[in-house]
Symmetry: none
DNA sequence: CATGAATGAGGGTTCATTCAT
DNA sequence: CATGAATGAACCCTCATTCAT
């Protein structure tokens, strides 16, 4: 447990730094360990390289957040509530410079980080797959509930869903629109869009 | 003009390297100048730092592509044709690791590059505004044409539009779906979504 | 006694590692203590530094081996038998990467180990003196026995002796010759050389 | 040629440091470049690693010295003169902590330096072979001249020769003997030994 | 102007040593 | 006492930037 504690302390430090706006590519080991309140050398008792720390930190964070949304969605509710639950979750957990954004960038392929760690990047798909599973379950439940059209290919339904969730992320990054449209209005608009596309 | 030539040569080199899959954060000055076929020191005759080169290169590329889509959209056509024109443009110009993707990442905020250059990042909004203008003109034309509902706030119409364009980018990054759904099917699906949301 | 046991355990570990082919300059404290089966910190209860451990280990090993050859040579025998006894001893005790080789390298001066420990290096001459005593006693006995010429300065006689013993060490390091000449042939050749030089 | 100059400057710096008594294993890149009068980074324009610098420096030095002894031995002379020529050469070129000593230690196998460069160590045998060739030519010439017994296997003749040359090196490292026996006396003694063994 | 050789600041990593348990 | 987790000094190497030619 001690070991896990130290690892987690480093993870939290990485996440905190990212949320503070430090670019992932300019994170220094000393920054991380200082933030974690431990010595520079100590990090190497638990990880073999800086990259290992950062990547595992991202995975740790994303995993934690995915677990959370999973738990939230397990509660019985209808599709509308589920969609708003996801909006709520994104608002608190997947906003800004969080590791969710990092993940998204991984998905678009530009997060290379280092040539030697592409292998690890593949296991990242593990999380993509997890997210995908959540989305597919979401789609399935919507169909079962009778609010999503069953004849539409699930992959396309998922695409439509994701498009509105991405819009929600973008909303937070566009000062201009977030000033003229309230969060609640935006949620209703996006929800309406989903229903128009899939209903 | 000589000067502009050298600058452009450097820009093209940066763009070529990015399209070759080199991560933007691991671009080296020597790589860029070698690719541009000029001496390493020469780059510093025209730019004050590596970051200046790269950022201006991205802007150069994005600007050129925006100019292209502007020109394409100036041709008289209906909304459907305009949407497919944009799809077409994205397919050839904004695919992969292009500067469009980079721009998108700038938009989501994680492309910091360096703490000392945040100021330059702000001028990036210049391009965002340009893109925004294009989109707003697009919306306006759709309304004028009678295919987009006029009562919907333009900012929301734009959001809906962008969501489907983003989905198109994502489509190219998801092997799983790009294998089961053809590009044409996806275009039709996304077009349909736009019409459902805005029509 | 406990204390001595721990020290000896560390010495044996150092010697074992050297005989395993680990370079003396890349020995790590953790390697040594792991091999000795004790905790890393414990080593510092008995020694002030890594270098102290290693140097003392070498001395311990060399001292033990010298004691052995002393004992062997105390048995009454003639010069020829004594020479072959030394060959035999070298074959089993002073071969390979043993501390004898290390000692030899100390003698040729290149084993510095660290600038701060030159003082300790001087005490190393203690062992040189011991070896020297053995050799001088050897020479004296040879003269007394009447097989070594008495008119030759003992220091020179010793030089001649050592030259053939060194050749024996070298023999083990030259695959080319150790394949074409058997150990016994080599011993006879070197013995003959000694007699030619000193007889 | 410029390039070669820089390389040679680094080689000379390494050699000078070694002759100053700095241990080969504690040479720092900054020491070397400071001594060579160039910037630290510059070394990496010509070599890929510190080890490459040091190893090539040793080879450079040994090669140069071997070339010198070759040239000296090419002059027509009898065996006695050749032996004294080698003594002379050792006195000026192969004394002390020179790269010759380093080479000798490589030969006895304890110069590991680094695990990743064992391959290069094999090419070191190139020099061993060169030295061997010189010695074998020496033996052959002695036999042809009629001063070395032809019936003795060349490998054994070489062993005998080397034993006395090694004794000469040792002589310089033993204050005790170098104080009581003059260099010339030692040379005559060792020469006499060679003739007794091989004549 | 154009160059690329030279530079050195900066950062990742190792490992001897310490000290709280 | 014994331990091994924690530490940070030390060092190799990279690469953006400079400047003499």
């Amino acid at each position: 447990m001690e070991v896990a504690d130290k690892k987690v302390a480093l993870f939290e430090a990485v996440i905190a730094l990212i949320e503070d706006g430090v670019d992932i590519n300019s994170l220094k080991v000393s920054d991380i360990t200082n933030r974690a309140g431990i010595g520079k050398g100590t990090a190497y008792e638990y990880f073999r390289s800086k990259e290992e720390i950062i990547i595992q930190a991202l995975f740790y964070d994303v995993g934690r957040r995915i677990e959370k949304i999973r738990r939230l969605l397990r509660q019985n509710m209808n599709t509308r509530d589920r969609i708003f639950t996801i909006f709520q979750w994104m608002e608190t957990d997947a906003r800004q410079k969080s590791s969710f954004t990092q993940l998204f960038q991984m998905a678009t392929g530009s997060f290379e980080f280092s040539n030697s760690l592409k292998e690890k990047m593949d296991s990242q798909e593990g999380y993509c797959r997890e997210i995908n599973e959540i989305l597919m379950a979401f789609v399935e439940a919507g169909v079962k509930e009778g609010v999503f059209r069953p004849e539409l290919a699930p992959a396309l339904q998922r695409t439509a869903l994701v498009s509105q969730f991405m819009s929600f992320v973008l909303y937070f990054h566009q000062e201009e629109i977030s000033e003229s449209v309230s969060v609640e209005q935006m949620k209703e608009f996006l929800y309406g869009n989903i229903m128009k596309m899939l209903g």
